[in-house]
Structures are given as structure tokens and as C-alpha cells.
Amino acid sequence: MSNSPLLRIEDLRTYFYSRVKRAFVRSVDGVDLEVVRGETLGIVGESGSGKSVTMLSSMGLVTTGPGVVTGKVTFHDGEPKNLLEGLDANVKLERRDGRIMRVSKDNQAWQKQADRNLKGIRGGKISMIFQNPRAALNPFETIGKQIAEAVRLHTGVTGAAEAREKALHWLEQVRIDSPRLRYDNHPYGLSGGMSQRAMIAMALAAEPQMLIADEPTTGLDATIQARIVDLLDDLKARLGMTMVLISHDIGVISRLSDRIAVMYGGRVMETGPAAEVLDDHAEGHPYTRALLSSTPRPENVTASGHLPAIEGEVLDTINVPPGCRFKARCQRMHDGVRPRCESQEPELFEIAPGRRIRCWIYAPR
């Protein structure tokens, strides 16, 4: 079964309770996603769309504070395993007049349960790389030792010398120049691009089945960014890695993804093969189309010299209005669908095999 999903996320909801506003911030509000073995799934969306929180919740990393995660995240490695098993038992909601007035959460028990669920998976079978490599690397330890530690923790290797050789191997794999010299460097001695490479090496050293890359190139210079994208592309081909790539940068997403999920206001608005979702002339969700045409590319400039902007602001996920989440900014809503757009949230309608769009325009007749 080569097409079996490695990770399946079903109806994931992550709400953060704001004490000041006495309301939930619905960061992730019913997300369904599948990651198939060997593919790269790109999750694209603007800030606040819930793309990072989706993956952080799945990895049990939403622990502190009043974050509540519900849903089901199944990791198919041998026996399917729900990574969110038993978490909701640690949360109590106090309701009054149908509104949630207070949330009490046993943070310690929650964290313990999450750690139990993810033992051997997080960092081992699924590893993650983040936007800021400096925050992810220990500043007091050489990068070589940190990578060797990942090798010894997550693979069968136990000997120090063998772990060192493995670590050097991964430094070579991520194309760090003179890896033997860099092995003994502390993170502060490395440039931004090089720290990012070291972090990728550390993630790969666990020999994971899946890699989650959260904005891996954001904040890097264009030339360095291009190199890191090249590297990920190359690793994908050489190692046959399964990857979830989170980015707001459509350029990065289009270069690396096999399949794309577009998120807006805590929900997946569209999924499908990368080429189709990003094709300028194909059918697609009004949000995706508008997002693509508002990127500063020469072919997007109108005759008046303007960029077709999406008017309005990004959705406020506290007071989510009824109906479609994008309706306030939608340019393609017409009278035929308007009543439904205003009142009822559309499902993800399948318009072709593997291609789904959450928009009433694409509802089957």
C-alpha cells in the first residue's frame, strides 16, 4: 500500500480561551488533512489562518495556557495510533447560557498525556524544523554533539564514535561545507543559512518517517532561501521523504509540494494536486485565486499599475460569522449563491478526484 496515509487529521479543533475577551480564539476550527507516504503536502495560508497551530496541535505541542485541542490525529505506523488520545479528559468547561464562561485545564496532566501519546514519535518518527533555527539549537553545545545526540536518542546507534560518524554523514547530506570543521562549531558561529542546514541535519538524524517544516525559509535572504529550497527538494528526491511544508510563501510551496492545502480562518478551503491548485487558469476557490493574483508578480499588475488586492482584513477568529468564512472579502459571490454563502458554511465539495473546494459555487447541483 503505497498510497496509504501516514498521518490523518480528522476534525481537528484548537481553541485558545482569551480571559480578557471571555471568548475562544478558534485558531483551528475543524481541519481534515491526510499526508500520504512519500508525498510533500504544502499548507499555505496567511498569518492567523491556523496552518502552524494545526501541526503543533497534532504533535502535542499546544500544552501551556488555555489551549484546548479536540479531534483525531492518527499516525499509521504499524498499528494506527491516535495522537490526541485522552487529552480532553484534562479539560473542564464551565457553561452559562450556552456560552463557555471558564476553562480549567490541568496543564500538567495534559502535558503528561501528550508526552505519553507521542513517545518515540515526536522527534523520532516525525521530526520538525522551525522558522528560527537559533531558537531550536542549544547555544551552549556544538552542533555536532547536538546532532549526535539525536542519532543516539532516536536510532539504534549507541556508541559515541559511531554516532559522531552518523552526525558527520548528515552534515554532509545537508551540504554544509567542511562538515568536520563545522562539527565543533557552536550555533552562534554559523550564519542563518548554515544554522538552518544544521537544524535540518538534526531533524534528519533521527531518520524520521515524516518531516514537518514550518516556514523553513522565512526570514532568510533570497539567495540563501533559494539554496535551502534546493536542498529540501534534493533531500526529497534522494531520501523519498514524506514532508509537511508550512509556508505563506507561494513560491516555496509551489516548488516543493505535490499536494496543497489552502487554509483560511482555521479551515482548509481547498486541497488538490499542486499543479492544479496553483494553475492560474484552473478552477479554484475564490480565496486561492485572489491570493495568487495579489502576489507581486509582473503578470499580475493591472493596466492601471495596481495589484489586485484582497480588500478587507483577515478573518477575526473570535467572532466567526455564520456562513462562509471568506464571504466578506469574496469577489465572486453572486446572487445565485448569496443566500447560502450568508447562512451556511460550505463543505469541501469534490470537483475532481482528489480535488476539493469549500465554496458554494462548486456545490453539486
Partner: protein, 346 residues
Amino acid sequence: MSQPTSEALIPEAPILEVRDLRKHFAQRRGMLGALSRGADAKVIPAIDGVSFSLHENETLGLVGESGCGKTTTGKAILKLHSVTGGTIRYRGTDITNQSQAQFRPLRRDIQMIFQDLDAALNPKVRIEDILREAVLLREPDADKESVQRQIYELMDLVNLKKNKLANFPSELSGGEKRRIGIARVLAVRPKLIVADEPTSALDVSIQAQVINLMRDLQAQFGLSYLFISHDLQLVELMSHRVAVMYLGQIVEMGPAKDIAKSPKHPYTSILWSSIVEKRSTETANHDSAPAWGVFDFERPRGGCRFAPRCPVYAERGKPAVCTDAANPPVLKEAGAGRVVACHFPL
């Protein structure tokens, strides 16, 4: 409003003229080094001989990697940095060594939009008061009604609703904060705006709104922009002309379209080919450029600063002229309105 083209250039005297601008920072190592005032300080040439001019109604884009001196150049023009050498002329007046008091009347004409949205607006002052302060700066004697009217006009200009006036900056979204930053700058009726990464903190859809706004305002008030950004496609779209900086020097300058389409300096070429969208797996594999390293200011090599990273230098078998300290490349004419500093332009 039409596409920015090089023909839009007005052959009049430039509004801003920068000649051979230099800004060297002293770096002292350690605690004792910081205390001593001696010759042991290492010199970091953040800007090292930058010359350009900017005309009325024109946008000059300034691009380059982080650390190349883009922002330092912008701040030097606003006299937020003292300079080590060179001249800055605004409408013919040499402002380089003017005291802050002498410069004050011109301060209104030259304004800056800062990169950091949150640092630029006082978090404890309501939007209305932020704008009132700016209006009163230009017209200290204006009566209450006129100030109020001007505040409303400013909000209209940047397409914000009046009900935002009572809010504090923290209650606004990123796009709204950016608009307030622009409104405050417009309150003093500037002629020249240094825009330092004005959209780097914004989402793509909001970025497009701000870019459109900036272009409309340019057409309406005849503004000149020095547009600093690391986003090459954005610069290409916003600017009439583009200057590419590398380690404190301009290596190529010319009309935006020409620079993007047919770069003459190898660095410009690499920069534009690194736009991720335009790359494919094949171009990545055929990329002959050597691995990128960070230029070490402390060990300046003679001659061309780009040589250690330059594919042309490598292909031509490392010609001696490229590393000849007595003969560094200087900006030379290279076609219509273009200059390039390279011994072997593409």
C-alpha cells in the same frame, strides 16, 4: 496611473543627490575594547562610496541581501546616522553636515516609513492623538476645527474608517498600523519618503493593498520614494529604477525592467535567479555558483568584493584584474541609463 517606466524620468535637477557616501562603524571587541578609544577598533564599512540621484515623482528601489547597507543608506539620508564621508544634497542644498537645528525645516520634506510597525507607533497614544501631533508639527497655530478636518482627510487618504481614531495601536491589524504610519508621514506633506521594507511584516493580500496605496499617493502628491526591500519582485514592480547593493556599494543601477530582464552584473543575475518561483529542479542542479559564504569585513580582499562568490570570476580562471586592489571595479555606463561595476559584465 501608468506602469513605471524609465521614460517617466524628468530631466530636471534631482530632488536628492547622494555622492560617494560613506558610513564606517567602529567595532570594538570585548568589554575593555568597548571602553578604550583607540586605534584598535575594527572598521566596518557599512556604506562605502554610494552615489545615486532621485528625481521628483520617481521611485528608486534599493535591493540587496541583509547587511549590505540598504537601511544604513536610508537612515543616513534622514540624518539618523552621521556619515563618515561624501555628500547628500536635497534640492541642491548640501545637508550632509548641517546641524539638527539647520536641518529641521527640511526634516518635514524628507520622511521615513520604518520597517518595524510596532516600534514606530507609541503604544500608549490613541491614533487620533498620533495624527494630531503630526498635523500640529506642520501647522503649530492651526485651530481645533482645521486640525480635526485634516485628521479626517488623512484617514480618508489611507482608506481607514474614522471609528479607528479612538483606538490604540495595539488594537489595529498590521495593515491598519502600516496605514497609520503612512498617514502620519503624509501629515507633514513630505516630498521624499524613504520606505524601509514597508510591507515585510504584512500578509500577501494586505501587502497588495499597501502597495496600491503607495502608488496612488505618489501620483496624487508627486512623491519620490527610496524603496528599500529584499523582495525582488516587489521592487521590480514598484520602482522606476533599481540600485543593487553588495557589501556597502552599488554594483548595478538602471531601469527596473532592464535590470530584472537582462542583468549585467553577475551578482544581480544570481539575485534575480534566486527568486524561488522562477527556479526549477533543473536550474538548481545546473547552478554553477559556488556555495554562499558571508563576506568577512575584517579581512577585506583587494579589488572586487564579489569575486569570492562570483561565477564569472571562477569561469574565467580567476583573472588577476578582479582581485587587483589598485583597480577595483567602478560604476561605468552600460547602455541606456544603466551603470554597472564589473570588469566582465554579462
